[in-house]
């Protein structure tokens, strides 16, 4: 009997969020991984993995946000993940929300760039992520987010 690998969607914005997502790679071992981000040029950094491009938006761009949602939904329907993980920012948060509706298990790793308080997306992610992590010990709370180390290696 063959065992199906866990299908994992690892998704983030470009820049620092993406660099942090890549540093989590050992966690994805044994999974069937798809990476997704907002910039096509990152494709070369994940050779050997499936790769999808999503649209970006921020809080002030309503039409772009709608198009972004469609692009996220498209990726989710294509990948049909069991687990979705994101290091932010807003597109990652919305992916987790959509993934929750599809009964995926969800992981939010708040960016290490949020040292004083969680990002807005990170705070809202607490209500939907099955595993909700901060990278700063002083931001951890008993009910979450939890602190389990950081991308620096500490």
């Amino acid at each position: 009997m063959s065992v199906q690998k866990t299908k994992l969607l690892a998704i983030s914005s470009s820049g620092g969020h993406w660099v942090q997502l890549q540093r989590l790679r050992p966690a994805f071992e044994g999974c069937d991984v798809t990476f997704a981000t907002t910039r096509d040029s990152y494709r070369h950094e994940v050779e050997g993995f499936r790769f999808e491009v999503i649209l970006d938006a921020n809080r002030t761009q309503k039409l772009k946000a709608l198009l972004m949602l469609f692009s996220l939904l498209k990726v989710l329907l294509k990948v049909r993940p069991d687990v979705v993980i994101s290091t932010g920012a807003m597109p990652g948060y919305f992916t987790l929300r959509l993934a929750k509706l599809m009964r995926c298990r969800t992981i939010w790793v708040d960016s290490i760039a949020n040292a004083e308080e969680l990002s807005l997306s990170g705070q809202k992610a607490g209500r939907i992520a099955d595993l909700w992590l901060t990278q700063w010990e002083h931001l951890a709370r008993p009910e979450g987010p939890f602190f389990k180390g950081n991308v620096l290696g500490d």
Binding site: G16, V19, Q20, P26, R105, N114, L131, G149, N150, L152
Partner: protein, 163 residues
């Protein structure tokens, strides 16, 4: 080669201008600036708007010193490549960022002994003038802490979130 990098989203005139003026005053011809959306363009040093990821890694690994905004992508890359690094945080109060997270992150990472921070232009000028004394403060391996990756792996495999 000194690589200046300020990310992509919003302008960061203060950093670019300070480095440009320093390079002119001290006759430095070994500086390249990635300036993103910065409106003010350098008068003395070569600059590009964006550097594609593959090229960026090459530039980064060849650079002798990195001078940058307090973006985590840049900071993590500098720590991974073991490059001397000065970061100047973008300030939301000056329209350089959407909130003050760069300032907070820079302060916390400085307190952990990971990076050298210049809080403003005067501080940056002072640090540039003693650039030969700049040291690599910390290094990181290729991946996050084993505790973090194992916790996530455990959860992916069906384990409980809180343990």
């Amino acid at each position: 080669m000194i690589l200046v990098t300020v990310g992509t989203d919003l302008p960061f005139n203060r950093l670019v201008q300070t480095v440009d003026e320093w390079a002119a005053a001290f006759g430095r011809t070994d500086v390249l600036a990635q300036i993103g959306e910065t409106e003010w363009t350098p008068k003395h040093i070569p600059f590009v708007r964006f550097i594609e990821p593959v090229d960026f890694n090459k530039r980064f690994s060849e650079a002798g010193v990195i001078i940058a905004h307090a973006g985590m992508g840049t900071i993590l890359s500098a720590l991974k490549f073991g490059k001397p690094l000065i970061v100047m945080p973008r300030r939301a109060s000056l329209g350089e960022q959407r909130n003050e997270h760069q300032l907070a992150t820079a302060r916390y990472l400085e307190a952990l002994g990971k990076i050298t921070v210049a809080l403003d232009e005067t501080d940056l000028r002072r640090r540039l003038e003693s650039l030969d004394q700049l040291e690599v403060k910390a290094r990181v391996g290729p991946y996050a802490s084993q505790r973090l990756t194992e916790s996530i792996k455990h959860f992916i495999a069906g384990g409980n979130a809180a343990c």
